[in-house]
């Protein structure tokens, strides 16, 4: 069944259009019948009388047509006629149709995906009543240092002091736990107070939410998310009632959430449990909780902060008397509204997508222009037959609307597929860690937005060319190189401007994509100072001396060491220090005597640590070369003293520097090697020295398995990971960024090629007569070919000249937002313009060949 006529039949029924037609028919038939009766009474045979009556009546169809013009349905009729006309036109020119639909669909898809993404995290309200009053508590000191987590007892005190300003407040903490069993797993969970569930009211697939027991103590229960159920108890048909060993505590599954449901965070955990349930055995030192809740209606965040101030001051009364603490209430009505650090990312994405939209619009306009110009003769004939300018413009706009409509449906399918792919990509990254992402989906609202955007684009990009070409047509001008904008801009200039715009906009997009891709690739070659494949971060939970002994006995293990911070997991903590009276802050790590050996850091000056220094936590230090250069530029570092503020404020302890080691990379790959690092000796007994590093003779998968088994043998949960893998995890966000950027860049390149091709077609159509004359005057086809290609290259060159400063500005801007980005990358700046020029050349090749094949006689005669 053909869908177009079916829709019109439905519309007709809906609007009473059918009744109107049949009434008109009945009225005219009555007239003819009445006249035939009269003629028959006068003696004519009935058949002859009827024929005579018809003749006297005149052309029924013409009068009906006049009637329709008067009817309220004439707009529908015009639209139908316009769409039919447009449909026929598009079928006749499949090249144009496919190009235009592709451009619009690509642009719409990019925008839909972006909008769905922004909607999921920044626009969609949290699924709770009073989401606009949802807040999180922060305590700030005078220096702007903020604290968002406190021990449970403090949280309870703060919550109970809420006075009349808070409708409710809950305690919340995200934590990694270990699920015991034959194959222990790490799991990401959220620990909340019992009233959290009264606020969130999560949709349950089975069971109920965890509750407090009869004594008021939290019941040993958990609430599984759907992904948590699949990951932890996937084999059970009904997980309710099953038990899980969480950090050594046996907890019962009280309920399971429906698929896709989650809490108030963008990431959904494996499960929720009540605060205090398994705190005693928690791997991290005493669990800390943040405070969220709902403000009472009519209470501002300032009022709430003021009301909480006394409780906050009370909490910090033992702190330094110099520090003034104050409460701050940050509203967070959406999943990610107040995360300021994410806003540059969102803004950057918006900017990039805006550029893609602009490029697509410029392309579409040039395509329409090319087409309208090619059809000027046809339009002129229609004007001669009596069509009004509005009617002609209507035809052309209907054509662009039809394209936009087809593209909108195509874009919808593409968007759903891309969102699934994107979600799958992100999901894979976090699912290993026991998390799942809030679903990102394109719903009816977004589809309506896409349709509207498509409509706007259709009218916006179709109207200009329509007015342009109908103006020419009305003037009766068959001149090819007509004037635009009431004679102020010639079509040639317009064409040139479009090419320049096209290239100038594509360049920054491609350059940024290039820089992002390049920077992500850089991470692979990051100069860490370690043998990435042979050093393993054991991630043992909990580490123990018996584990170290077991590991050292393993064949294939060269060395085992403990440290406070492992490499590549984040910058070293910086502590206040004093050297020869001058104060500063230096990176600080506590390591055992085998650390330098394990990491392969050859001591450059002096010595490393002795075993007894590690046991006794001796006041000696080894510093990095960079630190030595910075602190003792002229003298030798060994033998000097460095003071660190340890424990209480203002209390400095001196350390004697005994050695200097090479610089390594502790933090993120884009930060490079550490600028300062001071190592002091310690061992596992130290509260904060819980990381275990292993150096293998070879770095194979079997070795890692062997390490895992050795851990299990001594009852410790381990997740051994080579430093290369740790580095790989650091790269994930940049890989995603570079994937998005390269898809956008590719899109921009395809759009630019399509647009330049459209413009070249347009140019050839417009200049057909000129080429005819030139060839009649002796120009060779080769000359015409060079002329067309030359024009395209010249204009692209101007576009590059305009786009280059734009690109530099944009990449510098991007580099200020993303720390590790190179703002200038010579190869990108060289390659991208060349690619664009090649693209311009390629795009105009076919039209140029067509121009060279023009028959001069018919080209001139056409005028």
């Amino acid at each position: 069944m053909n869908i177009g006529p079916a829709i019109f039949a439905w519309l007709k029924r809906l609007t009473g259009r059918e009744q109107f037609e049949s009434d008109m028919q009945d009225e005219l038939q009555f007239h003819i019948a009445a006249r035939a009766d009269e003629l028959a009474q006068g003696g004519l045979p009935p058949a002859v009388a009827l024929r005579q009556a018809r003749v006297e009546f005149g052309a029924q169809e013409r009068y009906k047509e006049e009637g329709r013009e008067l009817s309220p349905y004439r707009h529908l009729d015009n639209l139908r006629a316009d769409l039919r006309y447009a449909g026929r036109g598009l079928r006749r020119d499949p090249g144009f149709t496919i190009l235009a639909v592709l451009i619009v669909a690509a642009m719409l898809t990019a925008n839909t995906v972006l909008f769905a993404f922004l909607d999921a995290f920044f626009l969609r309200r949290l699924p709770i009543a009073g989401a606009e009053r949802h807040f999180e508590l922060t305590v700030l000191n005078q220096q702007g240092r903020s604290e968002r987590q406190w021990p449970l007892a403090d949280v309870e005190t703060l919550i109970s002091s809420r006075g009349g300003v808070l409708e409710m407040a809950y305690a919340f903490s995200a934590r990694r736990v270990i699920i015991g069993g034959r194959e222990p797993k790490r799991s990401y969970v959220e620990v909340v107070s019992a009233n959290y569930f009264q606020l969130v009211r999560p949709p349950l697939a089975a069971g109920r939410t965890p509750a407090r027991g009869a004594t008021g103590a939290p019941a040993p229960e958990i609430l599984l998310s759907y992904t948590g159920y699949k990951r932890l108890l996937g084999s059970a048909t009904n997980p309710v009632g099953h038990t899980l060993i969480v950090d050594g505590v046996s907890l019962t599954v009280a309920g399971v959430l429906r698929e896709g449901a989650g809490g108030l965070e963008p990431v959904t955990p494996d499960f929720w449990m009540l605060a205090g349930t398994a705190d005693a055995n928690a791997s991290a030192s005493p669990p800390r909780y943040s405070i969220g809740g709902i403000l009472r209606e009519g209470i501002s965040s300032e009022q709430a902060a003021a009301a909480l101030a006394p409780a906050v001051l009370d909490l910090y009364k033992n702190g330094s008397p110099d520090e003034r603490y104050r409460a701050a209430i940050e509203l967070r009505p959406t999943y990610l509204r107040e995360r300021r650090e994410l806003q540059p990312l969102a803004l950057g994405l918006l900017l990039l997508f805006g550029l893609v939209t602009l490029i697509a619009s410029a392309n579409l306009t040039s395509l329409h222009l090319a087409r309208a110009t090619a059809r000027r003769r046809d339009l002129t004939i229609r004007v001669a037959l009596g069509a009004s300018r509005a009617r002609l413009a209507g035809h052309l706009v209907a054509e662009s609307m039809l394209i936009a409509g087809i593209a909108a449906f195509a874009a919808w399918g593409l968007s759903v597929a891309s969102l699934q792919a994107l979600h799958g990509l992100v999901f894979r990254m976090v699912s290993d860690a026991g998390m799942s992402m809030q679903p990102i989906h394109a719903d009816a609202r977004i589809f309506v937005a896409v349709l509207l955007l498509a409509g706007l684009l259709g009218v916006g990009c179709g109207l200009g060319p329509a007015l342009h070409s109908t103006r020419g047509a009305l003037e009766g001008a068959l001149r090819r190189d007509g004037l635009w904008l009431a004679g102020r801009v010639s079509a040639g200039r317009l064409r040139g401007a479009l090419v320049v715009l096209q290239v100038a906009l594509s360049l920054p997009l491609l350059v940024c994509a290039g820089i992002l891709v390049r920077s992500a690739a850089n991470a692979n070659q990051a100069d860490t100072g370690f043998d990435l494949d042979r050093i393993v971060d054991l991630r043992a939970d909990p580490p123990a001396d018996r584990l170290l002994a077991r590991l050292r006995a393993l064949p294939g293990v060269a060395s085992v060491s403990t440290a406070a911070s492992t490499p590549l997991t984040g910058p070293l903590p910086h502590y206040p220090s004093r050297v020869a009276g001058s104060a500063g802050r230096l990176g600080f790590n506590r390591v055992d005597e085998r650390f330098f050996e394990t990491l392969g850091m050859a001591v450059r000056q002096g010595r490393g640590f002795h075993a007894e220094e590690a046991w006794q936590h001796a006041p000696v230090a080894v510093i990095s070369e960079a630190t030595a250069r910075q602190l003792f530029p002229t003298a030798s570092a060994t033998g000097q003293t460095i003071e660190f503020e340890v424990g209480r404020e203002g209390e400095y302890q001196p350390y004697l520097i005994v050695g200097v080691v090479p610089d390594v990379m502790s933090g993120f790959f884009f930060q490079g090697r550490d600028t300062t690092s001071v190592y002091t000796p310690g061992n596992l007994e130290r509260e904060n020295q819980k990381e275990v590093l292993v150096r293998l003779d070879r770095g194979t998968g079997e070795d890692l398995d062997q390490l895992r088994h050795a851990c299990a043998d001594v009852g410790v949960f381990c997740e051994p990971m080579t430093l290369r893998k740790v580095l790989g995890q650091q790269r994930i966000p940049f890989l995603v960024g570079s994937q998005v950027a390269s898809s956008l860049g590719l899109l921009a390149l395809v759009l630019a090629c399509l647009g330049l091709h459209g413009l070249a077609r347009f140019a050839v159509v417009q200049r057909t007569r000129e080429f005819g004359v030139r060839m009649a005057l002796g120009a060779s086809p080769g000359h015409i070919l060079r002329n067309v290609l030359g024009e395209s290259l010249r204009r692209s060159g101007v576009g590059l000249a305009v786009g280059l400063p734009l690109s530099l500005t944009l990449s510098l801007l991007l580099a200020t937002q993303v720390p590790f980005l190179e703002s200038f990358h010579a190869i990108t700046y060289l390659a991208v313009p060349l690619i664009l020029l090649a693209c311009a050349l390629l795009a105009s090749l076919l039209p140029a060949i067509r121009a060279a094949a023009i028959d001069p006689v018919s080209a001139i005669r056409e005028d």
Binding site: F30, H31, Y63, L70
Partner: protein, 115 residues
């Protein structure tokens, strides 16, 4: 073909004639045509079908209103009646027409005298 005794309708006067015909009582399209021939003594002709776009236009301007009924031959027919606005318009047009006719007569008469 128009015989010398018959006249084509002047442009713009069909609406006035129809309003006048319908003002004598509700009538269907064919009836309006017969009444026109009758009141003009058959002096004015027009293609019969041309009556209808004019009727529909007047209806759209709310100078006429219509409803379906049964004709004298027992056929279903659409009957037009003049509205209040239609009567007002008819009077206005008639006055304007009278002024035009007397002006024309005056002008044509004066021309004859000058000769």
């Amino acid at each position: 073909m128009t015989t010398p005794s018959q006249a084509q309708i002047l442009p713009g006067t069909l609406d006035l004639l129809i309003l006048r015909a319908v003002s004598l009582g509700p009538q269907h399209g064919y009836g309006v045509l017969l009444r026109l021939q009758q009141i003009t003594g058959g002096a004015i002709t027009l293609e019969q079908g041309a009556l209808y776009p004019a009727l529909w236009r007047l209806e759209r301007q709310r100078l006429l209103e219509s409803k379906w009924g049964i004709s004298e031959n027992n056929r279903r027919a659409k009957f037009y009646a003049i509205t209040k606005a239609g009567r007002v318009r008819l009077e206005k047009e008639r006055a304007a027409w009278d002024r035009l006719v007397s002006a024309m007569q005056l002008a044509l008469g004066a021309k004859a005298a000058a000769r």
